[in-house]
């Protein structure tokens, strides 16, 4: 239990947490604006990961070898296409259900989730897909007496920096732009927003688009970080990111980030000090405990039930 090991786990946990935070934002935004849990969001993230994987391989095949350029192209393409997935899902599976009975959107979302999972499995095969590391190397921060070296890889720096940059851009988007204002207006009162000229349909669609684009970034990060993905990663990542959103207070953007980081840290430390097998159980248990004892999360406002 020396400090070097702990520091290494903290670094790993924060990296993982950055990924969860990006996915959690998608959950929290959609929940904030239409009050539904977008159960298929984990699958959108998985699609983003596959698009990144395919993109990276294609970049290698067509000879774009300068890594930053290749990653930038892949990132933009993956974000654009995943965003289109988010848009199409909202358009096909959720929009017709607005005003339907309470559980309808959730059941539809489960349908979308099952569909996407099997779609990718059929199109890409069920086997895990490994790729060679794209970003190698890192800094060696310190070495403990036991010979354990703490490393901070360039990839981890890339992930954290990209996440922070996206967060800043995103906060600007929500707080300063007309689209962000429209979103906040819809969040407060959809009918009223539509009466004063906000295009509610378009605003909700854009929320899904933004959430999906961020999930694509998370998917690309995971592809690079773990170097192996399969069609099933969306399920667990989705539940964990949802837990992060709930832990931070669903509907709250800073909450999603905080929750994501906490979940990442908890998962890393749990695996390091307790048991790897039960790390998913730990996350589920946190979800249940938070919902029971503090349903509004750490930063959320308590929800008032309306008739």
């Amino acid at each position: 239990m020396d400090t070097a090991y702990l520091i290494q786990q903290l670094i790993n946990g924060l990296t993982l947490g950055a990924v969860y935070a990006l996915v959690a934002i998608g959950y929290t935004m959609v929940y904030g604006i239409i009050g539904m849990i977008n159960f298929a969001h984990g699958e959108v993230y998985m699609v983003g990961a596959f698009l990144s994987l395919i993109g990276i391989i294609v970049m290698g095949l067509i000879g774009v070898t300068w890594v930053p350029l290749a990653l930038l192209i892949v990132l933009i393409l993956a974000m654009a296409i995943t965003a289109l997935y988010g848009w199409a899902i909202e358009r096909i599976a959720y929009r017709p259900l607005r005003g339907s009975f309470r559980l309808a959107p959730l059941i539809s979302a489960i349908g979308v989730s099952i569909f996407l999972q099997n779609y990718v499995q059929l199109a890409q095969g069920a086997r895990p897909k490994p790729i060679a590391p794209v970003i190698r190397g890192g800094f060696e921060l310190l070495t403990s007496e036991g010979g354990f070296a703490v490393t901070l890889s360039y990839l981890q720096i890339f992930i954290v920096v990209l996440t922070i940059a996206l967060m800043i851009g995103f906060t600007y988007l929500i707080t300063q732009t007309p689209l962000g204002r429209a979103q906040r207006a819809c969040e407060q009162d959809r009918t009223m927003a539509s009466l004063i000229g906000v295009d509610v349909d378009r605003t909700i669609a854009m929320t899904f688009v933004m959430g999906a684009a961020l999930a694509a970034v998370a998917g690309m990060m995971v592809t690079l970080y773990y170097g192996v993905i399969d069609f099933y990663i969306g399920f667990l990542a989705g539940v964990k990111a949802f837990t992060a959103a709930v832990l931070g207070g669903i509907g709250s953007l800073p909450g999603a980030v905080l929750g994501g980081l906490l979940i990442g840290l908890i998962e890393a430390l749990w695996s390091a000090y307790f048991s790897v097998e039960y790390k998913d159980v730990a996350v589920f248990a946190i979800l249940v405990l938070v919902l029971i004892f503090r349903p509004s999360g750490l930063l959320g406002r308590p929800e008032i039930e309306k008739v």
Binding site: M36, I37, F39, V47, F50, L51, L53, I54, G55, I57, V58, L61, L77, I81, L84, Y85, A88, I92, A93, P96, L97, S100, R102, L103, A104, L106, I107, S108, I110, G111, V112, S113, I114, F115, L116, Q117, N118, Y119, L122, A123, Q124, G125, K129, I131, A132, S194, D201, F235, V239, F242, V246, Y278, D280, V281, F284, L287, V288, L291, P295, E305
Partner: protein, 488 residues
Amino acid sequence: MAVADLNAATRPAPATPFQAALKDAALVALVAMALAGPIVGLQTVDRGGSLTVDARFAEVAVGIVIVFFGRLGLALSDRGLRLPSYGIAAGLAAAGFLLPWPTDLLGVLAIAAGAALVIRGLAGQYGAHRQSKAALATETDEEKADRLRRLFTRGLGFLLLAAAVLLPMMPFANSYILDTAIRVLTYMMLAWGLNIVIGLAGLLDLGYVAFYAVGAYTYALLSKDHGFGFWGALPLSGLFAASFGVLLGFPVLRLRGDYLAIVTLGFGEIIRIVLLNWTNFSGGPNGIGSIPRLTFFGHPFVRNAPEGVVPFHQLFGLDFSPLHRSIFFFYLILVLALVVNVFTIRIRRLPVGRAWEALREDEIACRALGINPTNTKLTAFAIGAMFAGFAGSFFATTQSFVSPESFTFLESAMILAIVVLGGMGSQLGVALAAILVIGLTEAFRGLAEYRMLVFGLGMVLIMIWRPRGLLSHRDPTILINSGKGVRP
């Protein structure tokens, strides 16, 4: 919709409906190309230890063409041009049958698109026809239709029951048919149990399979390690599953519907992961094998019984046949499923059943009336769990082997799909859906890999078109806002 129409009116109007439809279809085809292009068109394959990409652009291109024409037909039909739409449908179907497709799936897709167009067109015409008549319909007409519907439902129910009772006596009943029927009935029982939770009480439980697992493992451990017989272990595993339901339900049932869904999903996964990793207790991934087979009240279904035990066929003076066991299992699960069914029908009329349905419709109003929501929900949750436990112990004794693999989330999703397809709250609908879903799975074994894909799509489409299921016409008895249930 109204807002969109207003916007359309202010824009310069497109020249003809046909051009507008063409534009619409082109747009959809473009989106489909962007969506499917990379994921379907570029397949990652492992070659020599490293991944590379195989292009499948021909298939994607053909698929896009199908999407284009399908959407064109839909758009034309929506703009009142029914005839060209039917023409496109016929063209698609003919092409599906006649052309040499790169893969069979695309041909099937083309035929399905054609069929969907025809159905959609006819449904549109029928709807318009009905709307024009609806203005004239009188109270008595509606009552008559209602009575007819009820008669039809009851008749169909009895017909199904008679068919089920007679099935094992039919000459064509071989072990394959009986095994399939047992599978259908097991899912029917599970779906009826889940129907209490979702359909009556309105609690979306995504971890229902956990209780099934609890029942199965309880039975396996009781009968294998503690020498319990089936009839002793069955109620115990039901009770155990129910107490699990109470244990899990008590803290979470206060939550809103969609939170509850995620938490139950989490519980389902926790139980599966624990079963997978707690090797001493559950055998881990290897599961528990050689669970004692069910006997006919102490008379085993074997050719040569050990000393002092009379096997089933000798008891009745029959020749030994391996079918006997299947027939007994069949009737057993039939009775178990019917118990669930009758129980549900009866409890609906009791105060607690009504409280469930009232809670489903409006929780705040129920609280105002003095119904304790947590306790009421808890009963539904526990009873649903108990039936899953019964089904689980039946599963364990028929398979004589249980492992965590049988209790994944997909299993929960399949049961949920049956309930949703049949119409939440409708007993007969759920029964038909179970037959349909399991029967279709058996019929299209060759296309088994597409099964879950179709399920997922089906769940979305049913929520859009028939949110209360295929069969059910049950609207809430009293409605405040509109007179027309959930959606027109």
